[in-house]
């Protein structure tokens, strides 16, 4: 592949991100998540777990496989041998827990992932009446209105306006007018994480990579032809690091499919800006410790 020179168009594209790119990043200053690094040399951990089991008609592996994948990922993420003990460091029995899911018709979070999370939240001591799973109804949902903890779970997919649908973007349902955040192709989605309903509450992020969408067409931005069975979950306490990792996989798939470095038509710059402009987390792969579990074939990263 030939290397193209950097043009003034590239320069103008980078300009919106670059002023902050070299700065030392006070990560998680706004999220209140103490486990994230505060110095540039520290790394955040992201766990990628994959399982070769066949996917069911809903696009997920069998429920018991998903539970095992989630458990393995959380144990590896937190360095804890027992999954339930690990979850007990994430949520307390007295928490009110909202599991923010994604109900997009073509590639949802999947009930298997939702129930695997819910089971472990309950195992950590939270009673069922203090747990809710919701997407578009979060603003009206009493559990989400009173939530002290959130678990953020959604699939990654290419997106017509924001480049990719990401964990960062998944909180857009916490505002009454999502279109207010569409400016500059959703550049400042990270500010969603400063909303009172959200700020400092996220205990875990689960990026579902069972059948990611790497390219879209038409009003619904979907065609089955542009999905593939990756069979993975990406788990991290840092949504930006998880998104940046998922994005690298999607980009690798696009290179493999199209045979060139085809850019997203709408750049997913909200992920990088979540780091460099809004300090929500880490997007630089050099500052991400990626732990890989499960089968490696076609891993793309």
């Amino acid at each position: 592949m030939s290397r193209k020179p950097i043009t003034r168009r590239d320069f103008l594209k980078a300009a919106s991100v670059a002023p902050f790119a070299g700065a030392l990043i006070p990560v998680a200053a706004r999220t209140g998540r103490a486990s994230l690094p505060g110095r540039a040399e520290e790394k955040v951990r992201v766990v990628l777990v994959r399982d070769p089991s066949p996917l069911g008609p809903g696009g997920a592996p069998p429920a018991e496989v998903v539970q095992r994948m989630l458990d393995d990922a959380v144990r590896a993420l937190l360095g804890e041998g027992d999954a339930i003990k690990a979850w007990k460091t994430l949520v307390r029995a007295e928490d009110v827990v909202g599991i923010k899911t994604n109900a997009w018709r073509y590639i949802p979070t999947t009930p298997e992932v939702e129930q695997a999370i819910k089971k472990r939240v309950m195992d950590a001591g939270v009673s069922e009446d203090r747990i809710a799973i919701d997407d578009r109804g979060v603003l009206r949902n009493p559990v989400f209105q009173n939530a002290t903890a959130l678990v953020n779970a959604r699939p990654m997919r290419s997106h017509h306006w924001s480049g990719v649908g990401s964990l960062i973007k998944n909180y857009i349902m916490f505002v009454p007018r999502p279109s207010d955040y569409h400016g500059d192709t959703c550049a400042d989605l990270a500010t969603l994480w400063d909303l009172p309903a959200v700020k400092g509450k996220t205990r875990l992020n689960v990026l579902v990579m069972f059948t990611p969408l790497f390219h879209g067409v038409g009003p619904h931005h979907y065609a089955k032809e542009y999905t593939w069975e990756y069979k993975g979950l990406i788990v991290s306490r840092d949504p930006v690091a998880a998104d940046a990792t998922g994005l690298r996989i999607i980009q690798a798939k696009r290179r493999a499919f199209f045979g060139d470095d085809r850019p997203f038509q709408m750049t997913p710059h909200h992920i990088q800006l979540a780091d460099t402009r809004h300090h929500l987390g880490v997007s630089d792969p050099h500052r991400i410790e990626l732990v890989k579990l499960g089968f490696e074939e076609g891993i793309l990263i």
Binding site: R9, Y106, W161, P178, S179, T185, V217, P219, H220, H221
Partner: protein, 309 residues
């Protein structure tokens, strides 16, 4: 299976009745009437209607594309047959043929499907425009049967829309020599421009919903260049936009209006009347100025003809 089909048919009928009896704008009834209630052995569910505000409830952030083209209404209808992939029709009233054409040009990939006044088909998705309407027919899984039905639905809707629409007048200013007629986009704002061809992250061309713009590809894949035309409300606005572009994009040659970019190709800008004309990625300086001249000559010819009238 039969019972499901009958139920769906009843649902479709009820949906149609709801559409006809609700105190809704006549445009919705008219739009819905272009979509047949059944196709093959598929029957449709009740239609859903969205406007420029509620479209986000249906297609999330992608609604920004249709808002960028001033959409008025969308009627969406899902076709179902037990055990088969659903078909989905989204029919938009864009308010004008120019915007129907424009939103169609947003995605030009695919094979010509010969439906409406322009169409393409790719991966189970048929898109077309006719008069002030833009249509999309989508099979949730592409099979030989669903592909056939998608085309049939498209043709039925095409046949039901009585009128034809004019393409945007700006297209007449594109010199035909070397033009890739299948890669011409019409739009209004910088977000859509950047979607097709990134120019800058800020709005250096001062584009908005009142500006009309065309981006056209010239040459072959290995020698691709572009022409961008933008029409402003008046000459003063065009002059301001041209100067803004030149200052930001070619600060070292803003007065001259032409520069050799880092990729060794030439970019040039010129303001004429209420238009800004820019050529990108021209292989030589002379070729860049020649193409600007050709565009302006077409504009002058049209201006002259208007004066004669």
């Amino acid at each position: 299976m039969k019972r499901v089909a009958v139920s769906a048919a009843v649902l479709a009928l009820l949906g149609a009745l709801v559409l006809m009896t609700e105190p809704i704008v006549p445009g919705v009834q008219k739009l819905a009437a272009f979509i047949p209630p059944t196709i093959g052995s598929y029957v449709s569910e009740a239609g859903q209607t969205f406007d420029a505000e509620s479209i986000f409830d249906y297609i999330d952030g992608a609604g920004e594309v249709y808002r960028s083209y001033n959409m008025k209404l969308l009627v969406s209808r899902r076709f179902h047959k037990d055990g088969k992939p659903d078909l989905v029709v989204d029919l938009f009233d864009m308010g004008s043929p120019e915007d129907a054409f424009g939103v169609f040009t947003h995605d030009l990939d695919g094979e010509d499907a010969r439906v409406g006044q322009g169409s393409n088909y790719k991966a189970g998705l048929l898109s077309f425009w006719k008069d002030r309407y833009f249509g999309s027919v989508y099979a949730e899984e592409e099979t030989a049967e669903t592909k056939g039905l998608v085309f049939e639905l498209g043709r039925r809707i095409d046949g039901a829309i009585p009128g034809l629409g004019e393409r945007p007048g700006l297209l007449r200013f594109l010199p035909p020599d070397g033009l890739d007629a299948g890669r011409v986009r019409f739009f209004h704002n910088q977000f859509v421009l950047n979607y097709h061809f990134f120019v800058a992250d800020t709005n250096i061309l001062l584009l908005d919903q009142k500006t009309d713009a065309v981006l056209a590809d010239y040459g072959s894949k290995d020698d691709r260049s572009k022409v961008l035309l933008a029409a402003y409300e008046d000459g003063g606005s065009a002059a301001k936009a041209g100067a803004s572009f030149a200052r930001a994009y070619m600060p070292e040659a803003a007065e001259k209006g032409i520069v050799k970019a880092e990729n060794g190709k030439w970019t040039a800008v010129r303001v004429y009347d209420r238009y800004v004309v820019i050529v990108f990625d021209m292989i030589a300086e002379r070729a860049a100025t020649d193409r600007l001249d050709a565009v302006v000559a077409l504009m002058k010819g049209r201006a002259d003809r208007l004066k004669e009238k």
